[in-house]
């Protein structure tokens, strides 16, 4: 699925939004996107061992003028909740969270993660937008980056298999 347009559109959106530091943790459905992030010479790429450290790294980047994003699975969002609450929310910090929406409708894995993703974001007061159409990726990512900078809170884009590229046709 290297030819699926979504990952390239997402990276274009990140660059047009001024994002220049991206922390990531892999999921097979993020593979094509992370390859593009890692290969981009304009982006400082920080591969993580656990997602919550990405909250810290992006905070540090923001404090010195970087525009940051964190790419992870929704399980990683759950791993990051203490950092989100006691750093991002406590200090009023913006951060664009690009979260693979595992367990979304049409996604046969991690259905419990899928069920809990939006309720957890709602509980944290994190505005979130589901991205399904690759053609909307650039605009949505630019707009959510402006929103998080303005809101001084994290904002999440939920990346579905439709935008990341399905590995099996008809799945």
């Amino acid at each position: 699925m290297a030819d699926h347009p979504g990952p390239a559109m997402i990276v274009e959106g990140l660059k047009e939004a001024g994002v220049d530091l991206v922390a990531t943790l892999p999921d097979i459905n993020l593979h094509a996107l992370l390859e593009r992030v890692a290969a981009d010479p304009d982006i400082i790429h920080v591969p993580l061992c656990r997602e919550e450290e990405g909250i810290g790294i992006c905070t540090g980047g923001y404090l010195v003028g970087k525009t940051c994003a964190l790419i992870m699975q929704n399980g990683g969002l759950f791993n990051s909740v203490n950092g989100i609450v006691s750093t991002l929310l406590q200090y009023n910090l913006p951060l664009l969270l690009l979260v693979y929406f595992a367990g979304d409708v049409g996604d046969r894995s991690f259905s419990t993660n899928g069920a809990m993703t939006q309720p957890v974001l709602n509980a944290l007061g994190i505005r979130h937008f589901v991205l399904r159409d690759p053609d909307e990726a650039r605009t949505l990512i630019k707009r959510t980056q402006v929103l998080t900078q303005d809101y001084k809170r994290p904002v999440a884009v939920l990346l579905t298999k439709d935008v990341l590229g399905r590995r099996r046709p008809g799945e």
């Binding site: 530091l21 920080v46 919550e52 990405g54 905070t59 980047g61 203490n82 950092g83 910090l93």
Partner: protein
């Protein structure tokens, strides 16, 4: 060693390094030794070294010091391989290891049972990792660390005593703004500008 003895040595050498500190006694004792807006206090246990790493990667020409505790680092050990992987030469990660969760009632951490944090840092791939056993040794390894080359990790075994110092003088949001304004001023850069009102824009 007493924590504040270590901080006096570090404050003497730190210059304009940006310094990130964790919860508990580290922050207030460090701030008493080197007050100013180039200090950022972290509230999420474990994230001291991660926030310092982000600062170091974002400003590669500026020295950055993380002042961590054993309990805090044990909560975020995955920071060590991540630092090793990026190996920012301007990052010095100092861990004051008193072998207890001091701010949480002095219950033992794993380091009191034999866990060697410098050994873990080396095994994670941080080549320049060492213990400093006295203020003089700290002076040597800390000044070497600030010369750059590789990311550095320094372990210090310290007592659990607290020194008489004033409380931290600001809340989290003020600390954020003061730190950012300090970076803007000392780096001649603009981080927090707001867009012009739309009525000022010409088509």
């Amino acid at each position: 060693m007493k924590r504040i003895e270590c901080f006096k040595v570090m404050a003497d050498l730190a210059g304009d390094a940006l310094v990130v500190t964790g919860a508990g006694g580290n922050t207030v004792e460090w701030y008493a030794c080197r007050p100013g807006d180039g200090n950022f206090r972290v509230r999420t246990m474990g994230l001291v070294s991660s926030i310092a790493l982000g600062i170091a990667l974002g400003l590669p020409h500026r020295q950055v010091v993380a002042i961590d505790g054993d309990g805090s680092l044990l909560m975020n050990l995955c920071s060590l391989p991540t630092i090793a992987r990026k190996n920012p030469p301007n990052l010095t990660h100092v861990v004051l290891d008193n072998e207890v969760y001091e701010a949480s009632g002095e219950i033992d951490t794993a380091t009191g049972g034999g866990t060697d944090l410098v050994g873990m840092a080396r095994a994670a791939g941080i080549r320049r990792a060492s213990w400093a056993g006295s203020p003089d040794e700290l002076r040597t390894v800390f000044s070497q660390a600030l010369e750059g080359g590789d990311a550095a990790f320094i372990g210090l075994k310290v007592e659990t005593s607290r020194s008489e110092v004033p409380p931290y003088p600001m809340d989290e949001v003020e600390n954020k703004y003061r730190f950012i304004r300090h970076v803007e001023k000392t780096e001649s850069m603009n981080i927090l500008s707001m867009p012009m009102p739309v009525s000022f824009l010409k088509d």
